[in-house]
């Protein structure tokens, strides 16, 4: 590998370039599109030379959409707020519930622990609609329909198994002796959990939390079925730009750009944890 012929080096460079182009071009193009009006977007042939406009972003941020049939109110910013709230709250709840459980599964081989752990993980792989469709009725009875509480509960279906399994792997990697040493030094199990297990599994918890956040943010079908207009996140809200009086392509593009910005920013900021979470997450749990 160290000794590469010039030809091979060139071929590798070419292959990498193609890969980068394939994966980056759509993002680049949508980014450009978000600064265009419908008119320049619809121009044939497509061109990268245009006068950029911020009108799409302005429309999204002010919530006023100009269409052929007058001004429409759009709730994009509140959708964005919903996405942030739902994702953050779901991950927080998942961490509070999942980390202690992961700890129990990692440290205590109790009766049926493997079965329970497997059942929990299998939720990760169950078809979401299977649960969602009857759930609408139960939520109705319980008064949970159209509540953040209900949505956050259902989001546990995505976040909890993920956190449980990744964090469990990290806990298992902590030497039991280290925890024993702390117990023997005279500290309760809870102090040990708080002062030893949690800090040592910290990177894993961060990685799992980040991953869960991304999955919650990207979710479409739960919100599609369960969320009403004022609770719905951007993934569903983006459909609102398809209005009866025309499709606002520029605003769709701007909405996509705005809606991926938080996850992108978070992911880039914490990319170390992200890579760790993605790679180890799969192998560990």
């Amino acid at each position: 590998m160290e000794t590469m012929s010039p030809l091979e080096r060139a071929l590798r460079g070419l292959a990498l370039t193609l890969v980068v182009v394939f994966f980056m071009f759509p993002i680049f193009w949508i980014f450009l599109m978000s600064f265009q009006t419908n008119e320049t977007i619809l121009a044939i042939p497509p061109s990268v030379i245009f006068t950029p406009t911020l009108s799409n972003y302005a429309a999204l941020i002010t919530g006023k959409l100009q269409t052929a049939a007058g001004t429409l109110d759009i709730a994009f910013m509140s959708n964005l707020g919903n996405s942030i709230f739902l994702s953050v709250a779901s991950v927080a709840v998942s961490l509070v519930l999942g980390v202690p459980a992961a700890y129990a599964f990692a440290r205590h081989k109790f009766r049926g622990s493997e079965d329970i752990a497997f059942t929990l993980l299998s939720f990760r792989f169950a078809p979401p609609l299977l649960v969602l469709l009857p759930l609408t009725q139960y939520f109705q009875w319980l008064g949970l329909s159209n509540t953040y509480f209900g949505l956050i509960w259902v989001y546990q279906l995505i976040c909890l198994p993920l956190i449980l399994w990744i964090v469990r792997g990290y806990f298992e990697d902590i030497s039991a002796d280290v925890e024993y040493a702390y117990r023997i030094a005279g500290h309760s199990w809870f102090a040990t959990f708080r002062k030893i297990a949690l800090p040592l599994a910290g990177p894993g918890i961060a990685a799992a939390g980040l991953l869960a956040f991304i999955f919650a943010w990207n979710n479409f079908v739960f919100a599609l079925v369960l969320a009403s207009a004022d609770k719905q996140p951007v993934t569903v809200g983006a459909l609102a730009f398809v209005t009866s009086s025309g499709i606002q392509y520029g605003q769709i593009a701007a909405a996509i750009v705005l809606s991926v910005t938080p996850t992108l920013a978070l992911a880039l900021y914490a990319q170390r944890y992200l890579v760790e979470g993605l790679s180890l997450g799969a192998v560990k749990g």
Binding site: N38, E39, L42, I44, Q66, T67, A68, A69, G70, L72, T136, Q137, F139, Q140, S145, N146, L224, V225, L226, S228, A229, D230, V236, L239, A240, F241, V242, T243, S244, S245, G246, I247
Partner: protein, 480 residues
């Protein structure tokens, strides 16, 4: 302030002055249109309040489920008038049409009491009604203590009104004696032609007179104009593909979706020789002159393309064409409208209609209050407000269509629209057989059309398969 003006409006509302006279008077008084509107609403509110206890449910709260649509926008714009009139607090959820009906199904199937009233199409009530999700509105319409005297139920176009009434029997005639009024029509769309006048002039073609003609005209337009396609029709895998132009032309050949047997049993009727011939032509038209990605086309794409000048004409809802002739559409002001009879032997156009309606949830906690909203929203005052001030096109009340200002507004900017309406209104009705498997039948029908257009299956074979499959499903459901 404005006392003279208020008198004028009151006189209009009492019927002493006609509308034109009133507006002239107001204009002479130097009022802007906006102020006039506000005044007008204020006075209508007063007039309504005079004869009926609109405040009976004051302080109550209602919630609506609305589709993102100009009609909903018009209603929302006028909602304050309702609140002022009744003292009822109204909130609403608005969803884009892509997910709107799924949301309705989700809310109603779970027995949600969250929404009191919602927008719907007449087809949907064929599911909602038998499922017990919506209330029969006759109970309120026919009760003079609950309905204000100005409501004027007879003012509704009979065909449209009846299309919203069904007795719940699969295959039962719409608007029969024992029919239940599942919803109240709000506005309805006739499916006819909207065309680009510039392009037609440029290519030197006339309006198509029948389906064969349409195929030829579309092809010529596509060829002569260049960079565009000839005709826009919907094509997504959904009931929405069947019900506009496609079914309107189909009905013009006296073809039906289902046969109703003497025993009340249903069976597929789309594999007749005439039907096959019609399908073959329609498919040919799409293949030759339709949009390239026709199979993804919904209302939006059909409209956007026409507005952007990417297509020369559409065979779709009239109001879709209407919307494309305004706003910042590239082709605004260049569109024309015409009725279309696909069958050369037919005397007139027989459009299938889509009716945006209002229905009352059976799970509503206060149906009387909900009815207050429904009768206001479908009442003559709001209809006039919508038709003249907003884009509440295609009203369902005869009085509006007779309104000179409304007709004039249309004639000025929407050439042929009124003629188109007049030419086909008589034959306009729902051409589907009401039955609970409506969506199964139409979705599969659309899927079959897609296969035919993609040449995955020959037309006659595809229709035989479709009929067979539909018969099987009808039997499975105990209907066939």
């Amino acid at each position: 302030m404005y006392e003279k003006e208020k008198d004028l409006i009151s006189a209009f509302l009492r019927g002493e002055v006609d509308r034109r006279g009133m507006l002239k008077g107001l204009g002479a008084a130097g009022l802007t249109a906006g102020t006039a509107g506000t005044l007008f609403n204020m006075m209508s509110t007063r007039a309504l309040a005079a004869d009926f206890d609109w405040k009976a449910h004051s302080g109550k709260k209602l919630k609506l489920l609305l589709n993102k649509h100009p009609y909903a926008d018009a209603m929302i714009a006028n909602l304050q008038a309702f609140k002022d009139l009744t003292g009822i607090e109204v909130t609403y959820d608005v969803f884009p049409e892509d997910v709107y009906f799924d949301k309705v199904t989700a809310a109603l199937s779970s027995g949600s009491a969250e929404y009191d009233a919602f927008m719907t199409g007449a087809y949907m009530t064929w599911t909602y009604g038998p499922a017990g999700w919506i209330a029969d509105l006759n109970e309120w319409i026919k009760d003079p203590t609950k309905t204000n005297p100005n409501y004027n139920w007879d003012d509704f176009l009979a065909g449209v009104k009846n299309s919203c009434a069904w007795n719940g029997q699969p295959g039962g005639a719409l608007g029969s004696e024992d029919a239940k009024q599942w919803c109240i029509p709000w506005a309805f769309e006739q499916n006819n032609i909207t065309y680009n006048r510039e392009m037609f002039d440029k290519a030197g073609v006339e309006l198509p007179k029948n389906l064969d003609d349409m195929i030829a005209v579309a092809a010529k337009l596509q060829k002569d104009i260049g960079g565009i396609y000839g005709i826009g029709v919907r094509g997504s895998r959904s009931w929405a593909t069947i019900h506009p132009g496609f079914l309107s032309g189909y009905a013009n050949f006296n073809q039906k979706d289902l046969n109703v047997g003497a025993d009340g049993k249903l069976s597929a009727a789309m594999n007749t020789a005439e039907s096959k011939a019609y399908h073959a032509k329609f498919v040919q038209m799409i293949q030759e002159s339709g949009p390239k990605d026709w199979s993804t086309y919904t209302w939006y794409q059909v409209g956007t393309d026409l507005g952007a000048g990417a297509s020369a004409m559409i065979f779709d809802a009239d109001c879709l064409g209407y919307f494309m002739n305004g706003g910042d559409n590239k082709m605004a002001g260049k569109l024309g409208y015409a009725a279309f009879a696909a069958n050369p032997e037919a005397t007139a156009s027989t459009p299938n209609i889509w009716i945006w309606s209002l229905a009352m949830s059976n799970f509503s906690k206060d149906k009387d209050a909900t009815w207050y909203f429904l009768q206001w929203a479908s009442g003559p005052e709001h209809a006039l407000f919508g038709a003249t001030k907003m884009d509440f096109v295609d009203p369902v009340r005869q009085s509006i269509w007779k309104d000179e200002i409304f007709r004039e507004k249309l004639n000025k900017s929407y050439p042929g629209y009124v003629e188109m309406f007049d030419a086909s209104a008589a034959g306009a009705s729902i051409k589907f057989t009401p039955q609970p498997l409506f969506f199964d039948v139409t979705t599969e029908w659309a899927a079959t059309l897609q296969k035919m257009v993609a040449k995955q299956v020959p037309v006659d074979e595809g229709l035989d398969q479709l009929a067979e499959s539909i018969n099987r499903q009808l039997q499975e459901a105990g209907l066939g």
